[in-house]
Amino acid sequence: MSISKNVADVSHSPSGIGGKLDFTITVYTENQVGLLNRIAIIFSRRKINIESLNVSPSEAEGIHRFTIVISETEEVVKKLCRQIEKQVEVLKAYHNTNDEIIWQEMALYKVPTDIIAEKVKVERLLHQHGARAVVIRKDYTIFETTGHREETEGLIKALEPYGLIEFVRSARVAIIKASNGFHEKLKEFEQTEPSEELVENEFLDKQDEVFTM
């Protein structure tokens, strides 16, 4: 996860490195202490690095949403999702490539205030990247940007020569383009009788136009 690597290449290349692609795994779960560990060990056991992890309440009450980004082949990701769904407190796990989702990452930058006051170039730079000031103090100003990895990378590189004190990058949050939200799905889970469920399988996918939702 070094900053100096050109992340753009790996993320956008369709075939990736060795067939590996960035996949965003969205998991809906009960809000249960200890579940984070159970999900994390599914990845670590297979020596898969979690590139990004976000856990927060979902739009449905009492239900949490995990957004996990890894770089793997589709075969492996499919199997991972099935293993994640095996966990009792997990309701559903979806996997999507970058073009199937809308995603954002946030970043905070701490810059010395005198640099911005004196150097017009820096101010212009920040404007160009759509950075907005969150906090302005005598010694430092904190800016925030929201966007994709490459955008934040670009701003960091640009700010470094001017004396960037610190920056922090958040995890990815993503919404699946084809989704309808989780409320309807949750109703299915609350029923005591199981509903028709589909197993993701090439054989079946050829038969119907089926989404995992």
């Binding site: 779960t29 009960e30 200890g34 560990n37 159970r38 060990i41 056991r45 499919k78 199997k79 099935r82 293993q83 769904e85 095996k86 009792v88 407190e89 997990v90 309701l91 949750l186 889970f189 609350e190 005591t192 009788e193 199981p194 509903s195 028709e196 469920e197 589909l198 197993v199 399988n201 054989f203 079946l204 038969q207």
Partner: protein
């Protein structure tokens, strides 16, 4: 004492809440779930539960083991022969960590067990208190579900959830960690309600008709259909349905080590064992069939050998209750996701009544060859020292295939699974996925208690026996009628075999010395004898079976005998070696 009487008589919701302790709630839950035998070992953090247990003598039988590992393996054996959920009590710290091996074993072999561990007081969590351990995180990978209870009011519904999760869907172990304050705390008990639904947990689906129809179509068109089955048939209680299925379609059927005994060993369609030490025919013909029907088995690597050379020519139909297993190792043409007790009859209805005599005969031809090269000499040796196989052969003659056979792990396990005769299901108890040495003795105790009217024979090696030898104390204390046969080859046989075949006979630390087992047994008040001559074998086995009570029979067998056939690691099933 009065409150206890009220609760004992009423199983479900009671009108007036009664004030009971968390410990009593635990015991009430166990009883309501049909548990009548618990295996356990007390300790500081679980003392309140044990104190409450003192008054439940007539409702709950507690077996005091000699090591917590013995408790959980016994619970596994109990679950496997009785079909019920095994139950374990252990204390915090080392008591809980001693359960980990058994939990891993139950997890990978899908055995329903509920373990209740004591834990330090809730306000001491995370302070490195005496015998405090983070049991929830240690057991996270080896349990189907676990939970820490810090308040007594949670106990009834959490235990209900625990039993529901343990026994439904693909069964597995569940651990509930109860802090000491929760055990002591009194609360208003409103009765026990069994869990019937958890919104995030789907034990089994409504079967999609399309799967069944597509599978039936493939099967009906098949010229060489081959059925392979595992423990799923037994866990699903679908032995009858399975038998009807294979009989209608005329399919040759082969089993995994855990599927053994789902159909009688002498059934005409039973063509033998799969896997690394399985039979010749089933292994070779896996790569010649055109439709492979897998039922309740998970394509373990010991069964498949090299996956890139496994059944590539066949269309695979996989019947399993766990959707994560389908397509995990082997690509399926038709995934039949469901409970095989439901899916099998649906499938049987749609398939044609057929016989595949020519195809079945192919298996018989391979069997003939295997008998010639391997089996005959193993079961009827001319050597001075006895073979493991001949001991099993004589045992079969005396038990007629009605006994429960519990094995440990190693060469003896493979020999016993290959040659033992079984007439009924739930008769083969062994550690498959984890291969835990030391499993046999405690599991045999549990197995006997789970099916008390049947004869239970444990077959174990000199190595494995020493791993859990302390459980002889449990047999002594509760007078458990377990028959123990130690096949003593004075080696850690399986490893020695690999060292002989693959490491140029560099026997690195496999020559293990054993005590005089008969003397040790005598010290535990258990009868027994040791034989090394063929002429003494049958009478010794008969004496063991006739003896009223536990019996230990040590049989000295060939030191450097090998188990064949064998599919060496990394090889294809077609490359199975006969010698």
């Amino acid at each position: 004492m009065e409150t206890l009487e009220i609760i004992k008589d009423q199983k479900t919701a009671i009108k007036e809440p009664v004030s009971i302790s968390g410990s009593q709630a635990v015991l009430e839950a166990f009883i309501a779930e049909g548990v009548h035998t618990v295996f356990g070992y007390p300790g500081g953090a679980i003392m309140p539960i044990y104190d409450a247990l003192y008054d439940y003598n007539d409702k709950l039988e507690h077996i005091l083991v000699r090591h917590e590992q013995g408790a959980i393996h016994a619970a596994q054996g109990f679950a496997r022969t009785s079909g019920k959920v095994g139950a374990v009590f252990a204390t915090s710290g080392p008591g809980a960590t001693n359960l980990v091996t058994g939990l891993a074993d139950a997890m990978i072999d899908s055995t329903p067990v509920v373990c209740v561990t004591g834990q330090v007081f809730a306000h001491l969590l995370g302070t490195d208190a005496f015998q405090e351990i983070d049991v929830i995180n240690i057991t996270a990978p080896v349990t189907k579900w676990n939970y820490q209870v810090t308040d007594a009011t949670e106990i009834p519904h959490i235990l209900a959830k625990a039993f529901y999760i343990a026994r439904t869907g693909r069964p597995g172990p569940v651990l509930i960690d109860i802090t000491k304050n929760a055990q002591i705390q009194k609360f208003d008990y409103e009765g026990y309600t069994k869990c019937e639904h958890i919104r995030s947990y789907r034990p089994k689906p409504i079967v999609r008709k399309q799967y069944i129809e597509d599978a039936a179509k493939l099967i009906n068109e098949a010229k060489k259909p081959f059925v392979i089955f595992g423990q799923g048939v037994i866990l699903g209680r679908a032995e009858k349905e399975f038998k009807a299925f294979i009989e209608k379609g005329g399919f040759p059927a082969a089993w995994t080590v855990l599927g053994l005994s789902a159909i009688p060993t002498d059934h005409p369609l039973n063509v033998g064992m799969l896997g690394m030490h399985g039979n010749y025919g089933p292994n070779v013909l896996t790569n010649e069939c055109d439709v492979l029907i897998a039922i309740g088995m998970r394509f373990d690597d010991r069964v498949t050998g090299r996956l890139d050379k496994y059944a590539k020519q066949a269309k695979v139909i996989h019947l399993d209750i766990d959707p994560a297993e389908i397509d995990k190792n082997v690509k399926t043409a038709v995934p039949v996701w469901g409970d095989c007790k439901e899916t099998l009859p649906m499938l049987t209805k749609l398939i044609d009544k057929k016989e595949h005599t020519e195809w079945l005969n192919k298996f018989h031809e391979y069997t003939k060859k295997e008998i010639e090269i391997v089996i005959h000499d193993e079961l009827n040796p001319k050597t001075d020292v006895m073979t493991m196989g001949e001991v099993i052969k004589v045992l079969n003659e005396l038990t007629n295939g009605d006994a429960i056979i519990v094995t440990d792990v190693g060469q003896h396990q493979m020999v016993a699974c290959r040659y033992a005769k079984f007439n009924q299901s739930k008769s083969n108890i062994t550690s498959g996925g984890l291969g835990t040495m030391g499993f046999g003795l405690p599991a045999a105790i549990g197995a006997k208690l789970g099916a008390p009217e049947r004869t239970t024979v444990e077959i174990v090696g000199d190595g494995g026996f020493q791993m859990t030898i302390q459980e002889l104390g449990t047999i002594m204390q509760y007078k458990v009628d377990v028959k123990i046969i130690i096949l003593n080859n004075q080696f850690l046989g399986m490893v020695r075999q690999w060292q002989q075949l693959f490491n140029d006979k560099r026997y690195s630390f496999v020559d293990i010395q054993s005590p005089d087992f008969v003397q040790v047994a005598k010290g535990y008040g258990i009868a027994g004898q040791s034989v090394k001559d063929r002429k003494d074998l049958k009478s010794a086995l008969q004496e063991m079976l006739d003896h009223k009570g536990a019996y230990l029979l040590e049989v000295m067998v060939g030191k450097e005998n090998n188990v064949f056939p064998m599919v060496p690691q990394g090889c294809s099933v077609s490359e199975i070696r006969l010698q």
